[in-house]
Symmetry: none
Subunit: 204 residues, 4 copies
């Protein structure tokens, strides 16, 4: 009984990824059982293995795809400002990072909270990607520091601080809450840039 045109295989895989995202976000990787996952998808647990190889691989896949997408969107957005100065590029970074972390809050949350559930190989790979992403921000800060526009104290500490601050939105931002995305971005732009201005600064 060969594969027919109407095969719902890809649909099933997509349903698995979606349900996996939801369940891991809600209960954590260790706490999510494949029985739960299968039930959420509406198939039997054995059938999962027609689509995934192991539970671990599903986790890796979700995180890897998220990281790839993070870089893809980053490049798409930041390319438009690559010729501008550090201040403009930092603003663009903030806007992008906050937006992505609001829109993909579950992927993002899993992407760092379940790192420790990854097997060593996968762990190393993803951590390396995260470092590359941090480097994107570090580059901006170092350039700004070199041009006398920023005064970071320590660029690495500043970068970690900024990333922590911005990433935090995925834990408290509510889509229809008191503030909209743009207001949050504006607030954080002020706060971050104000924090980096050399004394007597005049940020807008």
């Amino acid at each position: 009984m060969a594969r027919t045109i109407g095969s719902h295989g890809p649909k099933t895989m997509e349903a698995i990824r979606k349900a996996g995202l939801k369940l891991i976000y809600e209960h954590g990787y260790e706490a999510m059982s494949l029985r739960q996952l299968a039930s959420e998808v509406g198939i039997q647990v054995g059938s999962l293995y027609n689509h995934i190889s192991t539970k671990q691989d599903l986790l890796y896949d979700l995180i890897k795809v998220h990281m790839d997408e993070l870089f893809r969107q980053f490049d798409e957005v930041l390319t438009g400002v690559q010729d501008l100065g550090p201040v403009e590029r930092l603003k663009a970074f903030i806007a992008f990072h906050v937006t992505y972390h609001i829109v993909r809050k579950r992927e993002v949350f899993i992407g760092y909270s379940e790192l420790r559930s990854l097997e060593p190989n996968h762990y190393e790979e993803i951590v390396s990607l995260r470092r590359q992403y941090e480097r994107r921000l570090l580059d901006i800060l170092e350039q700004g520091e070199a041009q006398g526009l920023f005064k970071c104290g320590d660029t690495r500490v500043a970068a970690y601080g900024i990333l922590s601050m911005l990433t935090g939105v995925c834990t408290w931002f509510r889509p229809h809450g008191r503030l909209n995305k743009e207001q949050v971005i504006a607030t954080y732009c002020d706060q971050v840039l104000g924090g980096l201005m050399p004394q007597g600064s005049d940020q807008p």
Copy 2:
């Protein structure tokens, strides 16, 4: 002739708490098995139950004690500056928060990453305590805003941002790394206060 000095009961309980802290920090609550825990402590798995009632209760106990200690130390430290202005109190808060999150990095990490592993009752209680702690910072920011010393955009968003930034240290700070605790505190004081200064300010 009841409890003698040589009694090892309390010692065992302390060993369980210590090992539990370590293992949950390293592998997560769900991934830590009581067999691992007992083995780390050096007793049989059944013996754990002479000291804890359930695995869940151990988690709750670790988090609750940590929250209580957080408030206790906060009160101890902040009492000394309670009559000073918002700027000084914010600096004291930053110094305290960073210090606590460096010294108790494992308790702190568990305290938010394993919230979802708490049973509903426990969850509500701890989340409520966290909100009370956030309020401490909010009070400082609101007072500063009222006195025209801070310009937060939105005090709540600012508070979340500051907390995220400061809390982040527990994930990357290394005791004998490039920077010591005081340098990190100084850097973050500049960054946070700079971010809150209204006009072309000149924070000390």
Copy 3:
């Protein structure tokens, strides 16, 4: 092409019920471990859960099916004498009850000795069924009493006594023992009916 004839699922379930019946009869519900049960069936303990939901549910299932079968056979047998008088119907009841309790001695034994191992819901349901069964006998006795054929003293006490007497066979009757089933039935018919006859009883 779903379930095929060779599928051993139903066979396994039947083997579990059979082995469960045997082990609970021999050792009691509490004393029977699922490891014993699985071993008796020839599968791994975890595989049991492809067929039963809990140990408790297996017990309930065994007792419920037995009670249903008791009523089914009762109706089948007693329907044939429903138009006859109380004496004939009591004889039919005795013959039926003794027969069933000899043929299904294990189900019957479990059915009352493990009642206390049932969860409250299940307990209530089964006890209610048992009361309905007792009522069948009570109806006969009351009708006989009303027609002046029986002199029970107290119909309820008489019914309990008769049921206890007849049910006892499942603890001592041996299939190829000194007496066969028909002889036991005859003896008990004499004894029960003699005990209920009004006339000629000259004991003080």
Copy 4:
């Protein structure tokens, strides 16, 4: 710290026996844990072992003491009628058996329902005692049969039936229920003796 006069040792043992009787009656031997028992008594579980040697021995002790008491009371009561005829002695037996099974319903219930929980040695001993007790009734029936006073069909079957009937009271009799003990005894005397009477029985 030697044994003082006020030692409550015997009192503790008595409390253990009483609590054990209650808990085994309510939940069964297998289902009763020594922790439950200790808690009911108001001591720690380890302290039980100052009074009992094993859980099994407690069960044996409870049953053995009950059997001894059964014989002791039987002898006390039946001695008074040992020179009378089978009818009077049967009546005395019925009155005694019912009385004992009402007053000591828990001991009696445990005495047969937990037989299978006894170790082989203990099991054999108790079963042997039970057979001796049955023999007491058998003697009466055989003598009555020999004298033409009873027509039992089969004395052994009749004895089992009578014992089952009378023993049943311990499962349904309620001290302040509709009927008092004397009424039950009277009813069963009529029923049993009526069932054994030779003449006037015209049922086929």
